[in-house]
């Protein structure tokens, strides 16, 4: 564990307020010198198709464990002082927020790196699956090699 770091993982249908989540992390300790954040949102097109809606399925129980492990590892590798990961599930339309990652450290380098690491690992290791409703029918999103390569560089 990243010693005293406060690490929060949340999975559910509810939307999030990124500003509020960032403020909560920033207020944890005055040792924090940098806070990085990432928001993943639903795009209105994918592989040239218009996407009208998307459903996001997960493996309840394993999802929380997998995310917890990823955040723990990030906290250890970059001495994080705090981190929050929120991943939504359920039904989405273009523009909806899907995922939030907030990382806090003494310096910006650690916060940036940990934030990117968490996203890269989340995309290849946490049990979520997307199904898109498009102009040409419903399709399960296929895993991308580029995501695997992004995770491998860590």
């Amino acid at each position: 564990m990243g010693s005293t770091a406060r690490l929060k993982v949340q999975v559910g249908a509810a939307d999030f307020d990124a500003g509020e989540e960032i403020r909560l992390v920033q207020a944890l300790t005055d040792s924090i010198g940098g806070v990085a954040s990432f928001i993943g949102a639903m795009r209105s097109s994918n592989d040239g198709r218009r996407v009208d809606a998307m459903s996001l399925e997960h493996y309840p129980g394993m999802t929380e464990k997998a995310l917890g492990r990823i955040v723990d590892e990030a906290a250890n590798r970059w001495q994080l002082l705090g981190a929050t990961v929120i991943h939504r599930v359920g039904e989405f339309v273009p523009g909806d927020q899907i995922v939030l990652v907030v990382t806090a450290a003494s310096h910006r380098g650690e916060a940036f790196a940990a934030c990117e690491f968490i996203m890269d690992y989340l995309k290849t290791r946490a049990p979520f699956w997307k199904k898109e409703r498009t102009s040409e029918g419903d399709f399960w999103v296929e895993a991308r090699d580029s995501d695997e390569q992004a995770a491998d560089r860590w």
Partner: protein, 82 residues
């Protein structure tokens, strides 16, 4: 008995999300998969696809992992969250 779970595209292909499977003694993940296909031959293509992943008691495992009565075994396609 063990609890077997299927997710996403695989769940749709098999037409089932969950089943109880009689497992009297310890066996490998591969043994369980073979026994499922023997019982449901129509599952062969989807369940034995090379990209199907497995988790035992919610931890990612390979085909050699040992499954014991009472365990939870999940089969699923590559993940696409984020």
């Amino acid at each position: 008995m063990i609890k077997v779970l299927f997710f996403a595209k695989l769940r749709e292909a098999l037409g089932q999300s969950e089943l109880q499977w009689p497992l009297a003694a310890e066996a490998s993940v591969e043994d369980v998969r073979a026994a499922l296909v023997a019982e449901y031959p129509q599952w062969q293509e989807a369940l034995c696809a090379s990209n199907v992943l497995t988790a035992l008691n919610q931890e990612v495992v390979n085909a050699k992992a040992r499954v014991k009565p009472g365990d939870e075994l999940a089969f699923y396609p590559p993940v696409t969250g984020g």
